[in-house]
Amino acid sequence: MSHETLQILWFVLIAVLWTGYLVLEGFDFGVGMLLPFLPRDERERRVMINTVGPVWDGNEVWLLTAGGATFAAFPEWYATLFSGAYLPLLLILLALIARVVSFEWRGKISTPRWQRSFYWGLVLGSWVPAVLWGVAFGNLVAGLKISPVTSTVSNPGAAQDITRTTLQYTGGFFDLLSAGHGFALLTGVLTATVFLAHGAIFLSLKTAGDLQSRAAVLAKRLSLGALGVGAVWAIWLQLAFSRNAWTWAALVLAALALAAAAWFAWVGAHGRAFAASAVAIVAAVVLIFGAMFPDVMPSTIDPAYSLTIHNASSSAYTLTMMSWVALILTPLVLAYQAWTYWVFRKRIGVHHIPEQVDVTFENAPSLR
């Protein structure tokens, strides 16, 4: 394959990895975000956490893979994006760290103070990335202050000085927030709303009893909200920022899917609502990546400074090798992750939750 075909392939693959991440982690973010609003007691809280218990970790690996794939396939994109969006990424990382340990540790000691701390780890750990990933994607679509930066790469005291010019983010933290005159912030609102709806629909599908009926009511309202925010966002994106007319197709698909999700949530067909909600996220990712293509980080200072799939990519050799790796492994990943969802397909109710998870101390109070 030609270098350009490989570059397009890897642009698509990275979009696929982000799709996997946002569709899957989207609902477990939603579940975490709904923790302050839905459950009435500790048992219901635990039902919610256990609906995503077996899968949240596997969902999160889609992000790590997207990060690793960007590093391997588009090193300049990886370098400029993560050094440029430094502070938002820092907040996301802190939130994700807190979230991971909270899932595993919260129930392991049954004192109120311990559980409250890790409960907030779950709630903030879900809200913060849900909003900030949206803001980050809003920035990618709307463009960033990217300019050429020249720096010395040769050693001090070397026979001759060698410099290299790279395309780097030269704006500040607040430029990231105000990108696209509010478009980036709206994208943050969009991802939060869509994940809330996605999570509520997931809970309607996976829980039982009283909790399930309350989740179903919330799913109706939230999916309507997602439809409203989504419509404004998608039209703004298409009219103001898209470089490609064909993304209208993705826009229409996203709108239809959001409407379908709302309709199915309204009539109580939660399986279909969940599928529609997942399709909506897929279409939104296609819209985002399609609107940028062939840029990966458009410059608002001068289009000539934009990072594109051409000037940000790895060599043809690396892309070829990585294509083989991805071609062999991705279907396997999809197969065993699908199997996991099949194994844990049953609904969960409060009667499934054991009394005690904390250590029992039957044998001894301590090793002292």
């Binding site: 050094s83 392991k108 000691i109 790469v153 044998n363 090793l367």
Partner: protein, 493 residues
Amino acid sequence: MDALTLARWQFGITTVYHFIFVPLTIGLSTLVAIMQTLWVRSGKTEWLRLTKYFGKLLLINFAIGVATGIVQEFQFGMNWSEYSRFVGDIFGAPLAMEALAAFFIESTFLGLWIFGWDKLPKRVHLATIWLVAGSTTLSAFFILSANSWMQHPVGATFNPATGRAEMHDLGAVVTNPTVLAAFPHTIAAAFLTAGTFVAAVCTLWMVRLVRRGDTDRARAVYRPGLRLGLVAIVISGIVVAGSGHWQAQLMFRQQPMKMAAAEGLVNTETRVPLSLLTVGSLNNDPASVQHLVQIPCLTSILADNTCNSTLKGVADLQKQYEQKYGTGVDYIPNLAVTYWSFRLMMAFAAFAALLALMTLWLTRKGRVSDNVWLRPVAIAALPTIFLASSAGWIFTEMGRQPWVVAPNPNPEGADMVWQLTMRGVSTQVSAGSVVTSLVLFTLLYGVLAVAWYRLMRRYVAGGVDDAGLGADTPADGGEGTTTDVDRPLSFAY
């Protein structure tokens, strides 16, 4: 402090912290898999008890390892963007493969193992923990390939047109002799950590139960766990030593400066002794180095299997490097840090060795023991075996300085592919941003360390659980696997 120094501290803190938990995760996942296999094959409930006991400790530890690993995937881009641009063509590949080939299996099958006790047939459930164990080991291979490439770049050439290193041989990157030696060393160290952990915890419980007069329970439950830990310590101890010797020989040829710094060797010498105590000023002045206690010839033997091998000293190497790479750089790594971290790596493992020798003798032929020395030795072995890995990595990484990608001295090697650490740091990230992240990561990591310790201590002190062994037994294959839908979830959050 400037952004470079701050970024280096941040990388050091986040990476050493991450790697406190990783060796235990890698080793313990396999040991738990072995315990569960012993239960499935023998049907003896003590192995099920031990599986669940160490399984919970594994999960507590797994979570913090995964959480702190997320940072590793992104901080190259955040603080080391110029490094990432320079090496992304090569270095990104093993990172992406690690996620795709190892992390997915690890996370997915860990979820199946935790929640699958009453949902999967016994043998399928057993397979899930083996997949977790195998994939954590595989992930170590990929990340060590990436790190070994920084120690000894191969399979790449410098492209003057793009100003970047470019890969031309992925096979060479994953069969780099540096990784072929580092992988067994790191994995064996992980097994040594986990074996010591299991042996020490079982020792503490054995001593306690024997003192209480409950020798039957000590013999039935904790002695088998202790013996399994001992097997792990003995085998991995041999592999750690052997692969370490191999690494020293590679280092002699690949990174002579690191080798010289590890010994505080200033001038080129033949028949180099191994120094046990050396002092010098902390400002890295080679002239101040004084060797006080030495074992004749041992360093020469470590490096090249003969007493007559010649090692270049740091002062001579400095002159050689100045000619080749520029006069404005101090190419000598921090001598005090490299010298002492190398020795502490080995010294910290001494308590594990002592524990192994004592318990091998005291628990021979079905015996249990409450010898008064067992408890203090087990308690000393627990933290020190973790610190041994930390010291090893501090040596490996600090000994590579001032390079982030050390030059490959082989004439036909990837000779133009090298980068100074100072050239790898992000140029557009302010010192203020780095200090913010440094402070926030350190604070969060401090809080998590306290919580991790509290949990580990509590669950170690809880002992094996006798309750619910029946209810949590995995469903057997074949007929009658329909599980009661109202049965409580096992291992639920």
